[in-house]
Symmetry: C3
């Protein structure tokens, strides 16, 4: 009689080009016989992606006299600066389920500069932490408790991995709440199975979701931002709810479509770094709400978010910091071509606007942004993506010593490889 | 007739929560057929652990006028400072046997700040080396020659991985010899099989050992400390002996118990960094001995160490550096509960005292420490540990410009996840 | 009837001690069934090597008054400085074929210091990027397009991995074009199958090749050097050709021998960092050619390269930067002993000379180098190498404030472990 093979093939992990933060809840590990733990490489895997960019200002205020804004972006050091190729992100993550009860995510970024290294110049590409968290699972994985440094659940696009985002950069409005997107703390996520089912179906269809978070979240964090030293005993509190709805019931053109609606709230106090050195002595009110809506592209989709709140901002009149109103968001339309002779591609158009402080820049300068971006994301290989975009920018530089708004027309190209 | 499966299961590696530095000598790799080397992931594995802390000073001198000590600890930046969550360690190591003759250990730490990055503020969480060494095996692995950066065999607790230590931090006395615990050099270890057998039995029982060192060690190192540039041609010489004894022969309550006794010696000269910039022109005598004794908890255990010696220390009278006497150590009692409905736990009590210089702080300030810590380490999951501790501290701040001793009562909690 | 095993053994990856950058084109991945992607650890692997050195100046100008050159080398911080053991390289790379169409190489270096961390002193061993590129394959892998940060194809020895180089350091002449060897850009490689076959045969014989580049290369790069911020819109253009010839046709002593001949050219402008802070306002012409010839050791071999060109250089008379002529190269003879009772070893002798600027040092000082090195590389284990070398150096220090040439006789030992 035949003996069954004693060595089952290792379960195939996610394919190379799958999103780094897959929303699909991983299947519970198959019960392993006692004393036969899975080898480390079937519990953990190394993944990541790299983004290399080239920016070309067709026409714009790349330079300006002292006191006047130059064309710059808080999201992309390549905008308006001299230079050719630059790395926007070089990510490497170790992730997986250490056991049935606990998951791990540990991600670093190679594209982190260290300043003041020789002759006042910086050196690029030191490896710095982005995420370091453990997920402890409860209630059949519908609930997870996340401890460590992780993305703050404020803003749908903030949570979505940059490897999945269609547009070149995040929008200023929702991102002004959490530049760098991460903080240290403890957060709980709950996802009812019915919602998980909708997301799983979307993921199977190849839709770009927002990652392995949850439908409902409640968390506390230090509140001083990614990789910054906490300066006060106050905690940042954040809550999120996001719910996808199948629109089939509406019939006709809505069959097979999914609309996701959600909202987030944040209560925080923040001490910006100041030009005289260190951080401000006072902590400023930094409270916000954000709304989001996504009609997943099938093939046409729309995505929009808007934030309102108060945050630290430099007051030019009094030459001091204060907590002032802010608001901003974006609307994006996209059209998904799943198959074509040259590979999948998604043309998109996006408008964004923001007025308010940028709290992680020195002295929390007020910035004013109005931008239109037209672009296309193209996947000649599933592990190799090219995004080309034209942008018409009206941006004030994030420097309280410069005023006014710089204008510019840009072409940007981004190459991304996934591993 | 049945065909035997051609693909034997990969040998199961250590389970997730095993100590990062297991003392159990790995079994010699099974002889592989010539031309069929083991795949990389069966020779090497990625492992690590993360420690996140919250400290709360119930009552104490968290602030003080200039010139007076504030409540601070050389081991934990969270003590006395404002703030909530902070990472104490985020480790990732690549380790394994590259071949039958050579082992590898390469470990980095994500919780390393880089100072002076913007407005004089630091940025947290850059990835920095801890260990980079190769072990060359001789004489059936009873002897190994370790080259590279590795832990200096001075002090039992210094060698034990922080992932295995019960108490929140190492004790000042033995640790004052090797803050950061590591140095670059060459060290030989010898472990007689009879000693290895006792350690293997202890490890099988789940005891917290001191790692994959040896019973007898002799090494030379640069002597300037972890990740610091060597400044003189002198070598640090270190010797260690540690021997476990089974106490069964004593009968009665001693059956099944193991006592380990040992001693270490160090000869070194050291050039502390000075406040005027750079390191001291002179190298100061830095010679020490340390004794240790451990009664492994079964279920009750005791652990104690004490160091004596001379080392660099700031002299307030002459306002200059000198080599001065130092001494200090600790006694710890613990009780091991291996199984309980809520998981394993170990309550412990610890007293420590130290008087002497702290050589890796600017100007090698004299510190005076007296501390009692009461705590419990609890493992709700084997890969997820929680330690809660109360400490009554009398500590002088490690700053030669501040004098006196700060007092404080603290609660600290640490969450650790292993991978 | 017997069931065929369902779990084929993972394909054995390269053995531990194979060169980190193997020139052998990896076999095309075996066609995997649709929906059954290879697990991540069969697509990617972690590899690396560490080099630890000890330098001893027998006799030489290790110190000198202000204004006069001390014995220092741009390649090895251990030359002439006080100290014992130091790490020259601690490399870790993730590499492999993400798919049939795309390869990945992501390499970091732990032996990277960050300056100005405390009391003006630096801290060693932060992890910094070396390579981050993707290869997209075309035409049966004879053509590949490499995007990201990678080695610039200028100079045969520059391309060869330091883990494979016999001599302790690279030669100043060819290396002056690309200190650090890498830049960000896009480069295409083409290798005719007939050339690949010769290289594959050499690799099978254990010869030290120059890595997984190509016979013909054409690339554009930022041109500001490894991990430095690009400062101008100009691109560096580089072209390379290298062709191995079998000498069997010459008969007699030439049977079984291979000669490789090649040339490279570079067009660039470069802005050196200046002592007053930042980089020079002007970009200086930085154009070069290089010739190389290698007779692979069988058992006797010769290797030689020479560079000519113009590059940025500090002019002492005018006390300003200018673009000035430069030239330099080396000749190396070696004798390969493939098998011996103590393992493989290669004695070698090498002469080098260089006159010209060193563009990545502050103010691009002119350096003058004449050096003879006699050494032997010995492999007691294939994953553990020892190189011992004597050098007679005449070197000017790379500091425009010091003049003259320092002399010295050195012994250097390097231990390298591969993983």
């Amino acid at each position: 009689p035949a003996l069954p093979p004693t060595a089952p093939a290792p379960v195939a992990p996610a394919p190379a080009a799958a999103p780094v933060l897959a929303v699909v809840t991983p299947p519970a590990p198959t019960a392993s016989k006692p004393g036969k733990p899975k080898p480390w490489y079937d519990r953990l895997q190394l993944r990541g992606y790299t983004q290399m960019r080239v920016s070309e200002v067709i026409d714009g205020d790349t330079d300006a006299p002292a006191g006047v804004s130059r064309l710059r972006s808080v999201h992309d050091a390549g905008v308006g600066e001299k230079g050719n190729f630059n790395f926007r992100r070089i990510r490497l993550a170790l992730q997986g389920d250490v056991s049935d009860r606990m998951g791990l995510y540990l991600q670093g970024e190679f594209a982190s500069a260290v300043t003041g290294q020789a002759n006042g110049e910086r050196r690029e590409n030191f490896f710095q932490l982005r995420d370091a968290y453990a997920d402890v699972y409860f209630a059949d994985r519908t609930i997870k408790l996340r401890v460590g440094q992780s993305k703050v659940p404020f803003g749908w696009e903030n949570l979505q991995s940059s490897s999945n985002r269609i547009a070149i950069d995040r929008a200023d409005g929702p991102n002004s709440a959490v530049p760098g997107e991460r903080d240290i703390g403890i957060v709980g996520f709950y996802t009812p199975p019915a919602i998980q089912k909708i997301w799983d179906d979307l993921a199977k269809d190849g839709q770009k979701l927002f990652g392995n978070y949850g439908a409902f979240a409640l968390g506390v964090y230090n509140g001083q931002g990614t990789n910054r030293t906490e300066k006060n005993d106050g905690l940042m509190k954040v809550a999120m709810a996001t719910v996808p709805f199948r629109l089939d019931g509406l019939g006709g053109p809505f069959v097979g479509k999914v609309l996701e609606l959600g909202a987030e709230g944040m209560l925080n106090t923040f001490q910006p770094e100041v030009r005289t050195g260190g951080v401000s002595a006072r902590a400023y009110i930094d409270n916000r709400v954000n709304l989001h809506a996504i009609l997943y592209p099938a093939p046409f989709g729309i995505q929009a978010e808007w934030s309102w709140g108060k945050g630290p901002e430099w007051d030019r009149l009094t030459q001091s910091l204060a907590s002032k109103p802010l608001s901003g968001g974006y609307v994006q339309a996209m059209y998904r071509v799943k198959h074509s002779p040259i590979g999948a591609f998604i043309p998109y158009a996006r408008w964004q606007s923001y007025r308010g402080g940028w709290k992680t820049a020195t002295n929390a300068p007020r910035i004013s942004t109005d931008e239109i971006e037209l672009g296309v994301e193209w996947l000649p290989l599933k592990e190799f993506e090219v995004t080309m975009a034209y942008a018409r920018m009206r941006r004030s530089e994030a420097d309280e010593r410069r005023s006014g708004v710089a204008r510019g027309d840009l072409l940007r190209a981004q190459i991304q490889w996934n591993y």
